[in-house]
């Protein structure tokens, strides 16, 4: 069949050879879905420990006939030999070592696990219950939220691709926090709702269709691992980081994260000014759309895409704001953002391969 890239007409520079390590989870599958049509990329290797030897079509019937590479077990040297840049989509803990090996072999890595997201190895250890064995490499890693760290990402050897909840929460909060408009000391309350693909591809009872359908519940109330990640980045944006209260919920849909964030401002803020701040902050961003005042984002409007839609509602009398954001957890919350980071690292246009509109309905 014709698998020529959409419009992959004459480029003179050779294609970037990429590998996906841990290709059979949802994040790995989504990377492949997006990379297949990326005009500057060749998929050079895909790995899986459990499915080594199988074709990708056996693991993802949607990808049948679309990726030629068979699944192989991960071997850092072989991967480094075949790929210029590697996406690591392994579970936390396993990623740590794989990334270090690949970097040691001279490869650049976008790590989709949490292993290279934290500035402080002690924070990592406290929340992930294992010590970080590569603190030096961790210190060099860059937190891969392009809207905040674009320039550092471009030069990074390792990018710690952000968690899905932090991506949605930080993009909603950044303008207000960075401008110093928050009431000092006031808590930021993040009520987050996620589709079930956020829990990964491992089947277990809470995600069994009959249990999840028509079901809605909070989980890990007060102790989800994305809370310290959000706090770390807010601390970088503000002089003093606000306390964060973070409650994730499971919602009966496949994709999508919606954050509703309650914050207090130091001074009264008019809706017009709030909107002007958000519009200004994001005016050159290819993937952030700021909605009209009081308008709510919709997970449906970003589904399958790298967009983050942001809404702002203001109560000037009460000096309160309600910030809302919606992303596709597998795209802007994972694989899409990883490719956005790859584009930055390689000097490609930042949105290359990511311009397909959301799929609606």
């Amino acid at each position: 069949m014709d698998r020529s890239k959409t419009g992959a007409t004459a480029t003179k520079t050779p294609a970037l050879r990429v590998a996906v390590v841990g290709a059979t989870g949802y994040t790995g599958g989504e990377l492949l879905r997006l990379l297949v049509t990326h005009p500057r990329v060749t998929i050079a290797a895909v790995t899986s420990e459990q499915s080594a030897g199988k074709s990708l079509g056996e693991v993802f019937p949607s990808l049948a006939r679309l990726v030629d590479q068979p699944l192989v077990a991960f071997d850092p040297e072989k991967i480094a030999a075949r790929a210029d840049l590697v996406f690591v989509a392994l579970p936390s803990g396993s990623a740590m070592q794989a990334v270090a090996s690949l970097v040691g072999l001279g490869r650049r890595v976008v790590d989709l696990s949490p292993d290279y997201r934290f500035v402080d190895p002690a924070t990592y250890q406290r929340w992930y219950a294992v010590p970080h064995r590569y603190p030096t490499l961790l210190a060099k890693a860059v937190y891969g939220l392009p809207e905040l760290h674009r320039r550092r990402i471009a030069r990074a050897r390792v990018v710690g691709n952000p968690g899905c909840y932090p991506t949605a929460a930080l993009l909603a909060l950044a303008p207000l926090v960075k401008k110093g408009l928050m009431r000092p000391g006031a808590a930021v309350i993040i009520d987050a709702k996620s589709g079930i693909s956020g829990a990964g591809r491992g089947a277990s009872l809470p995600y069994h269709f009959p249990e999840a359908n028509e079901g809605l519940m909070a989980y890990k109330v007060g102790h989800h691992r994305h809370q310290p990640e959000i706090s770390q980045e807010l601390a970088r944006l503000a002089n003093v980081a606000p306390p964060v209260v973070f409650t994730p919920h499971l919602v009966p849909m496949t994709r999508g994260i919606f954050c509703t964030i309650y914050a207090e401002t130091a001074a009264a803020l008019t809706p017009e000014r709030a909107l002007a701040i958000y519009r200004g902050f994001y005016k050159d961003e290819p993937f952030v759309r700021v909605l009209e005042e009081g308008e709510s984002p919709q997970t449906k409007a970003v589904w399958g895409s790298n967009y983050c839609d942001v809404g702002v509602a203001v109560d000037p009398e009460a000096k309160r704001v309600v910030l809302m954001s919606a992303i596709d957890n597998l795209v802007k919350g994972a694989a899409g953002q990883a490719i956005q980071n790859m584009n930055l690292m390689c000097g490609y246009p930042e949105s290359l391969g990511l311009t397909a509109p959301p799929v609606f309905p």
Copy 2:
């Protein structure tokens, strides 16, 4: 709790004749579903303006062959002649007059519209954009949340059956507020998520399956009509009512409301003490189940039933609590609670006809 089988008692007293005015919406249909097996009730009349002349089975195929009464247009005198007690399930505005007529004819009414929920007619007018034409009757109406107003409901001629969101929010908040444990002046933030049947049976674009499925959005941010209802009842529980921030969301499921409530306590509260307060407050309640500390309710665990499950998570250091509650919006949030009110008004066991367990999965 009362687990006596539905109708396990032998009864010599004649059946209560009830009418459902506005029987073709979801609330009307749910009343009928529950009344069909209520051991003390005869369904004496069902009304609909648009479907008068049809059988109920034409409007609700699920009820085919289960209710003999044909749909008739509403005529207060005829209804009053046939029924001892009337459920009014009309839209706000229309209910006002219907209730007044029926009460004028000597009938007791449970009104499922918002028309008889407010203490202050000015509040009603401000939020519903029409003046209340029966302020005297309104003053006599009782807010039908049995867990808070059981004794007054028993004697009421008109019960204003609570909104679905207020039911879930108030049951989660009542113990803490009534015990005076909230930090004075601190806002109560209610992040509420609702299934789509809460929007009623009128088809329109946001509830069209392809638009709603995989969709999640906030709506009426900062100006939903259930906010003043919540505020009114909190004011009755506390000396000083806290400011309420209320954000409802639409979630792709048919039934269920989940409230996540963020509040601050005056003093540090241990998880044990918080739980003891909730357990004590609800210890004799047939329909409120208090979960273990940190455990989340699930809409699935109350689906189709009159239960409200309540969860409490405490952060003593921050003097913060996260309260969670789940109900079925059509049962405890509407028709089931209406029947619970009817039981109280008629001196029946409060849970009569409401003991069928939640439907799972």
Copy 3:
């Protein structure tokens, strides 16, 4: 039909003590949901090997506080000592022995597994890959489809409760087949669609919410175990059983089976006559509703109930009929039908405890 309220009768006879063996799957949970409000039943014991020692509320949050009995490991003697009648909801293979032990101890059993459904042990062995170790008991067991075998069920010691697909298919086919109206030799094509709870409570990849949602597929094409069950019962109804082509499909919903059946008639049949045959055949049945000609059943209209809705569409010129039926796979397709069988075995009104209407929407 019998629409007497659940338990509207005053009873002097002591309650029937029942046990549910294998109480933690969906079928077991559904039995308990329905038995809790059955007016003549006491739940005397519930068993589970894996969850022995737990409360039912831990396994089914929906049943918290509703069933007092703790889960215990299955011990035939103890169960026989505590219960008059036993529902066995174990996997095929395990049920065989449990049923035999309980019957040996003098108890009557409704077996929800396939182990006692087949007339011929060789058929069982061919399809379930193990020999039947109790052929004598199997020979005495009665196939528990009350609409066809009511009188024999009443006297049975063991009832083999039908599979969900056979229930829906046979109720759609029975009138036509029994009246001898089918074209001899012509195949009956059964295209069946099932919600995912039909696959049981065991989490695995095809039923993982993100994989099942928005997914539709056929499975076991040409070799599903319910095919011989359907064939056996058709052979009893007809002189010569027609060949059966049976294709089950998985549909993204929790509950519900819909069968579309394509058959040929020996002679041209008018719609009026077809309908008259169906109406006549089912005129005294409490749980079968025959729809108007050409009208389709809806899974939604029987959801949560013991109803089977049947539709008939006729093409007289082509001598073809399209038969359609809808049931709730967990109620009429499993637990509700089991209780209907229990009622027959105990001389109770057949619909006792089963009169709650479908839950809509």
Copy 4:
């Protein structure tokens, strides 16, 4: 923002200017989603009668900032002036005239309505209840199923883009019918299941989320308008067209069509031979994937893409086959196929702009 096409690197030929007439339904929206990244196309105009003056982002929040053209009322002359090729996505009846006007003005048209699909105007009139006013143009129109009519499509002025059900049914049946392997006179039974977007964007009760969710029903049994379309094309493939029995069903999912087709073969066919026939027939097709024998397609595996997955199960003894196919009704069943037709008409690679993989999960 950066809206440069994915890989829209240097092409010397000017872009094709296309218009979408009737851009606010699901088919129109899907055309735009796909055209936005098509490397050879410029979206020159989008029309809507009801939403003229609005931006596309108001009608489809997913498309906000992605298409610059405002919605305008349809004016054939203006559209002909601005566009080289026009997609008409109007309702049946309205499309007829619009297409004729545009062709009269020298434009080539892909019509997504049924108005230009039929060879015989009498068939159109019988099923669509209006006479065809442009029989001459109809006679020149080509049925736009590229796998069957590729060469004629390339030269057509008007392409009648196939219905969603016919696309899925015909691709499953074509190899067997064209090879003359069907038993003469035996009916072909097509049991089709569709997601709800197939019903269009008009909100009405059966598609209201709470009514459709957990609902499954047949509709238009024996008289759906896609039946004559299927029959027409089968007649072209076979010497004698088989009788077609077609039953569509509504399934609670947004996208996807699954056809299960029951047919009889003249001679016994082994699975190996059946598969060889299908593999051979589709060996050069970019968008048809033939699965292993007995394997079922999955709507999920083609979701959002232009693929049609086809499965074949054979019972040689009974001389019966079960054919299965899955498509995305909005892509291969509408907009994707329309673009495939456009590519053929314009001499572009047939899969240009359509190579993005299915979205999974």
